[in-house]
């Protein structure tokens, strides 16, 4: 029944099915939500988003002010100024651009501004690499933003629509970043179902009833706070981020209802009885892991995949309850946390989530796909086999495994 109802809803809301890259999917989502101000600066692999948006604006398909700024620092600053003035805003960037925005990332969340940004992940210089991984996103993870990581063009489209509703919710009022694989998704065409505008607009009503710059009600935004105040103000923002998880879940539920989708803040694949779990994020990594899990199951290994869709706030409860009964977990990171005990950044998040629930279980840190180094589903299949060996011998590696590294130890 529920399925039948969901399907009929979907038929009603879907306008057309088209082939889009994730970047174009992002641009179409922005188009559908009646955005007011777009400011952006080109960087590969983000550029095609803002090219598409420029085209929409040039053709009068979006009634927005497009600010072709002179840098990423100014891109984020301009949308901060616009959001503070009450506008609905969008920006996008990657890699060095995100690093160049870094200072303003903290300001955007500290000022509690509902900004939405698309950020296809890319490796960081030096050496220069334009290719995809998630190092840039990891550098932004402590900046107080809501961060989602999508794994298909459809999900990018849907997530950006949800992002506006989350960001502008008075219980949240925080910037939201929607990330996905640079190139592997940003430049790969997939079928995407686009919705009729009226349904999207109904789902994303404007919130003009939030603090903003208005001469009729003057307000000072961006103050200096003494040590006597800073701590509490910052605490409010991090607390809002923590609490936003409920709003994000609520938004997911309502989105599922309105658009006949099936999103959750984590995606569980064959997890119910899994002994061996790979925790991943993004498109290629989770797609390959799922394929490997299917193969491993055919050969009798109880394999499963947990994909993080929401990355900040970290879905601690959901992650732990999903892997609670498994034997061994490997966290596959497409990013680096140099100098830490383990170099996989999300590995450290998962371990701290388990610690939080008093669970001690073998967790392996795996790094893969750095600067788009090829990831094969074979690699993930072999990883499942390794997890099985570890479990049998009771010997677990005490350092990060770097898959696909030439001349490495692993």
């Amino acid at each position: 029944m529920a399925v039948a109802k969901a399907l009929s809803t979907r038929e009603e809301v879907v306008k057309e099915r088209v082939g889009l890259t994730s970047n174009y999917a992002a641009a179409y989502a922005v188009k559908t939500v009646d955005v007011d101000v777009i400011a952006a600066y080109p960087i590969t692999p983000q550029t095609t988003i803002i090219e598409k948006l420029a085209e929409f604006v040039a053709n009068g398909e979006i009634d927005a002010e497009y600010i072709p700024v002179e840098s990423e620092h100014s891109a984020l600053s301009a949308v901060v100024g616009a959001a503070a003035t009450g506008a609905r805003v969008f920006t996008a960037t990657s890699a060095q651009g995100l690093e160049f925005m870094h200072e303003v990332l903290y300001i955007a969340s500290g000022l509690r501004l509902p900004i939405v940004m698309a950020a296809p992940g890319r490796a960081l210089s030096a050496p220069i690499s334009i290719h995809g991984d998630y190092q840039d996103i990891m550098s932004a993870r402590d900046s107080g933003w809501v961060i989602m990581i999508a794994s298909s063009a459809q999900e990018v489209y849907d997530s950006i629509i949800m992002a506006y509703r989350i960001a502008e919710d008075n219980r949240v009022l925080l910037p939201v970043m929607v990330s996905y694989d640079g190139f592997l998704m940003s430049h790969t065409t997939e079928p995407v179902e686009l919705y009729h505008e009226e349904y999207v607009r109904k789902f994303t009503p404007r919130n003009l009833n939030r603090p903003r710059l208005d001469p009729r009600k003057p307000m000072t935004i961006g103050v200096i706070a003494s040590p006597d105040w800073y701590y509490e103000i910052k605490y409010q923002a991090i607390n809002a981020l923590k609490e936003s998880k409920n709003v994000i879940k609520e938004t997911h539920n309502e989105f599922n209802k309105a658009f006949g989708t099936n999103y959750d803040i984590v995606e569980k694949y064959m997890l119910d009885d899994a002994d061996y779990v790979l925790i991943t994020y993004g498109g290629a990594s989770s797609g390959n892991a799922k394929e490997a899990a299917r193969r491993a199951r055919e050969r009798g290994l109880r394999a499963g995949v947990l994909r993080l869709r929401l990355f900040r706030p970290f879905p601690t409860d959901e992650v732990v309850s999903a892997i609670k009964y498994s034997k061994v977990v490997a966290v596959v990171d497409r990013a680096l946390s140099p100098g830490n005990t383990y170099e996989g950044p999300v590995f450290n998040d998962v371990v701290s989530a388990l610690y939080n629930k008093g669970i001690n279980k073998p967790v392996i840190s795996v790094v893969h796909g750095i600067s788009q180094r090829t990831m094969l589903s074979d690699d993930f299949y072999n990883l499942y086999k390794k997890l099985d060996e570890y479990a049998k011998t009771g010997e677990y590696p005490r350092k990060t495994i770097f898959i696909g590294l030439r001349g490495g130890e692993a």
């Binding site: 001469p215 307000m219 000072t220 961006g222 103050v223 200096i224």
Partner: protein, 315 residues
């Protein structure tokens, strides 16, 4: 410049920059901002860069601003102002806002000549209808008197100190007006807090032009601790800067240059007071030798030469 205010009595009594901020006694920038807001009135949105004015006027939970005010960071006042201006434009167009508010960006010399120059250039090039006010106290005063691109030749600062080898700032002051005018904006002017009527009229004129594009006002605003003079002398020193020809008052208005009193007489050097009148009152120039002073004088003469060529071309 159109004349909106003839005497000090014509200025509105309303205060939008409240008393009780934490600026130093005799703070030039705060005097300038007070005049600017009086002239601008209440229908404005202020976007302020990090610097003395910002840190002394927004000390949570207090604020000196009774107009909407946004501070984002040090280098991006022009970018944030671009966003605010664009937001007003589109929200008005979509019928979500009926206010006519104008956006004024305010930044110091550091936030303008140096770290914010890129954002300023971007804003001017894109043609946002924003009035950008540079209050020039000729150093990074908020962090304790370090040299900026706006610091004059030979001036002492903590990062252009007077030592056995080097005597104050080695380089000359950057010509920000020429840089700004190079962006072909409708209006740019210099002003000085010692000439409040001139300043107020320039603010009004600039705001009137914002429908066409950006406007820029460069206001000289002395700083007692940074320039090392007694705090009651701010206005006097500011006035001497113009009377000696060090800081001429002029406007760039749609491709024309016009000099304002008393600077309009200063092409004739004999009408200017000697530069020593200005220099000798400030501790930051206390170490100057006769030779240094001669060099400064030469530079000022050169500058007037350049200005007279501009007047010949654009006057």
């Amino acid at each position: 410049m159109k004349v909106y205010f003839r005497t000090i009595k014509d200025l509105p009594v309303d205060e939008y920059f409240g008393p009780g901020q934490l600026t130093c006694a005799g703070c030039g920038p705060s005097i300038a901002i007070r005049w600017i807001l009086k002239a601008a009135g209440s229908d404005v949105i202020i976007v302020n860069a990090t610097g003395c004015i910002e840190v002394t006027s927004t000390s949570y939970p207090y604020t000196a601003w009774s107009v909407p005010y946004l501070h984002v960071a040090f280098e991006n006042a022009a970018a944030a102002a671009s966003g605010a201006e664009s937001a007003l434009k589109v929200l008005r167009r979509k019928g979500m806002l009926d206010a006519k508010a104008k956006v004024i960006a305010i930044a110091g010399d550091g936030g303008t000549y140096d770290i914010g120059l890129q954002a300023l250039s971007g804003m001017l090039e894109r043609g946002h209808g924003v009035l950008y006010v540079l209050y020039d106290n000729e150093a990074y005063m908020n962090t304790g008197i370090q040299r900026s691109g706006g610091t004059p030749h030979f001036a002492w600062t903590t990062t252009s100190p007077v030592g056995s080898k080097l005597k104050g700032k080695v380089q000359r002051k950057k010509d920000i007006m020429s840089i700004v005018i190079g962006h072909h904006i409708p209006y740019a002017a210099t002003a000085n807090l010692a000439y409040p009527i001139d300043l107020a009229n320039k603010v009004k004129t600039a705001l009137d032009y914002l429908d066409e594009g950006p406007a820029f006002i460069h206001v000289l605003a002395p700083c007692p601790p940074g320039w090392r003079y007694p705090e009651e002398m701010t206005v006097e020193i500011a006035r001497l800067a113009t009377e000696t020809g060090y800081f001429p008052l002029y406007e760039w208005d749609h491709g024309m240059i016009r000099f304002n009193p008393p600077s309009n007489t200063h092409f004739d050097k004999s009408k200017r007071k000697p530069i020593t009148e200005y220099l000798k009152r400030q501790g930051r120039f206390a170490h100057l030798t006769e030779e240094n002073i001669k060099e400064i004088e030469k530079e000022i003469d050169e500058y007037w030469d350049y200005l007279s060529k501009l007047v010949k071309t654009f006057g």
